[in-house]
């Protein structure tokens, strides 16, 4: 069977399951199934797919940009930076429209990544694990600043919704911003070769005629926007980018022209599966998809640390 067909079948099965599973039964007849699907189940399913796709793509772009496959946005403080931007705009302009908040989050995420790249330049490159460790400390510091700021300004509740992804609150009218990720995914696909070239390292990529600085800025700009979109609509999910891009890379290599769609589909499917699992484990109560993914993702991350020795960087 061809790969696209298999991917389509798996995603279709997950989507069907997601539309059917929930606290209320579609088939009990005491409510309008069409209405339920249109206002709640479909938005929730689409939100999980879009967020998963975006986070997976963001992961691979960050990895290519720093030539280290043990990092992803949530391991280098990007969601935390976005949250700081969201806190700042919420304080400065409480009634701002959501897209303004999103822009503030994206700019802060970009600044946060620039800060991390500055730190990364000072690090010796022989040990690939140094980068995620420093990134986690950096993210921890940013989060501490965010927590303090939210605490003294009584915004802890906001921070809570941004910190852990949860799809149960997604209804029609409250997730549509996420469709922006679909547009960004198309844009990334158009520059897939350039993102692959980033992975060859600055000197070699420039020798091949790539405008390295511009390409990296474009890639990280897309990452910042994706992260801000995800944080502001459903909250951040750790490890998606790390898991999706590493598994696809081990399986099919890093030629992104061929593999970006596979990575996107993998991320989308994995997050939707985590959300479905979260609905089933303690039915009819729910466990947030972010929690499910954090547990599974941490395990896979540990496996990668052990299974990816020198090759991760050499």
């Amino acid at each position: 069977m061809r790969l696209p067909l298999i991917i389509a079948l798996v995603l279709a099965a997950l989507v069907t399951a997601s539309l059917c599973i929930g606290a209320a039964s579609l088939f009990a007849g005491d409510l309008d199934a069409g209405f339920l699907i249109a206002t709640s189940r479909f938005p929730r399913t689409a939100a999980a797919l879009l967020a998963g796709m975006g986070l997976a793509l963001a992961g691979v772009v960050v990895q290519q940009s720093v030539q280290n496959r043990l990092v992803e946005p949530s391991l280098i403080g990007t969601p935390e930076s976005a949250m700081l931007g969201l806190l700042a705009i919420t304080l400065a302009w409480p009634g701002a429209p959501i897209w303004i908040k999103m822009c503030s989050g994206a700019l802060a995420a970009l600044a946060g990544m620039a800060g991390f790249l500055g730190l990364a330049r000072a690090l010796p490159r022989h040990d690939p694990m140094l980068l995620p460790i420093v990134g986690m400390i950096y993210g921890g510091i940013l989060m501490a600043v965010g927590l303090w700021l939210a605490w003294v300004t009584d915004l802890m509740q906001y921070l809570g919704t941004w910190r852990l992804s949860e799809f149960s609150g997604v209804v029609q009218g409250r997730y549509e911003l996420l469709w922006g990720i679909a547009a960004l995914a198309v844009l990334l696909y158009l520059v897939a070769d350039r993102i692959t070239l980033l992975g060859l390292g600055e000197t070699q990529a420039r020798s091949l005629g790539l405008n390295y600085g511009q390409t990296r800025a474009l890639g990280l700009g897309i990452v910042a926007t994706i992260i801000a979109l995800v944080v502001v609509t459903v909250g951040t999910l750790p490890f998606v980018g790390l898991v999706a891009s590493n598994i696809v890379s081990r399986w099919r290599g890093d030629n992104l022209r061929a593999n970006l769609p596979v990575i996107a589909a993998f991320g989308a499917g994995a997050v939707l599966a985590a959300d479905i699992l979260g609905r089933l484990i303690r039915y009819p109560y729910e466990i947030p998809a972010g929690t499910i993914f954090a547990v599974a993702g941490a395990g896979i991350f540990l496996w990668l640390l052990n299974a990816a020795p020198a090759r991760a960087h050499d």
């Binding site: 030539q67 060859l200 091949l208 005629g209 290599g253």
Partner: protein, 253 residues
């Protein structure tokens, strides 16, 4: 022809290259030799337009590598850096095909595919074409990288220590291949290569540029440079030079 005039390069406080002027005529192999820290690699990167000099200028067949659009520059000069850190998992054919990127910018045509296959064949990589770079030995990977640089079809090929990971047989094969490909027929390209192994330079180079402390210690035809007096002046140690099949062989005394 590569023309370098009054080129200087500093990294932070350290002045790496001082007021270098040289011309490299088309064709053949030009080797840049010199002690560690003499600035060989910096000179190569400056010529390729990848390091910005603090003064002076570079012209590659009349083109200013610092001013030209990136892809124009990449079609005029191709550089392979010393042991590049390739974290990316690519197959050999995918890597070599990226050599064509400055020509097609993302939309490869049949000509690009043909030249990719030709580069693979030129460096005996056709049997390895579908292997992942990760599964190759250091020497095979180095050949794949040289083939990628070759596929760039630039008239000037700049190689920084290409023999580093190679055992003697592959080192000889590569230099022999480059030697043949830089003759007037069938296709004349020009190779500038940084080599720390004096005998690799002595054995294959047509011309030699010897750097010392960021300046040109000596430059000229290989046989003129490979003399005990000149080598002593550049490396600060005594050498014997003997003749073997019309090529100089340098022995540290």
């Amino acid at each position: 022809m590569i023309e370098v005039s009054n080129l200087s390069y500093s990294a932070g406080q350290a002045q790496i290259l001082r007021d270098i002027s040289l011309t490299i005529p088309q064709g053949g192999i030009t080797a840049i030799i010199g002690p560690n820290g003499a600035g060989k690699s910096s000179l190569l990167h400056c010529i390729a337009g990848l390091l910005t000099p603090s003064g002076g200028q570079v012209r590659i067949d009349g083109l200013d590598p610092f001013d030209a659009p990136h892809r124009d520059r990449a079609r005029a000069v191709a550089l392979l850096q010393q042991t590049p850190r390739i974290a990316t998992r690519l197959r050999v054919r995918e890597l070599v095909a990226f050599g064509r990127w400055p020509h097609h910018g993302g939309r490869p045509g049949p000509e690009d595919a043909r030249l990719t296959e030709e580069a693979l064949a030129t460096f005996d990589l056709t049997p390895l074409a579908d292997r992942s770079l990760e599964t190759l030995s250091g020497g095979q990977r180095q050949r794949a990288l040289v083939a990628m640089t070759w596929a760039q079809s630039a008239p000037w090929l700049l190689l920084d220590e290409p023999l580093n990971a190679l055992d003697p047989k592959y080192a000889r094969d590569l230099m022999e291949r480059l030697h043949d490909l830089t003759r007037p027929a069938p296709e004349q390209r020009s190779v500038v290569v940084v080599i720390h192994d004096i005998n690799a330079a002595a054995g294959w180079a047509d011309r030699v540029i010897a750097l010392k402390d960021g300046e040109i210690g000596a430059s000229g035809p290989c046989n003129d440079i490979m003399t005990p007096a000149t080598l002593h002046a550049v490396f600060g140690m005594a050498f014997d030079v003997i003749d073997h099949k019309q090529r100089p062989v340098v022995i540290a005394r």
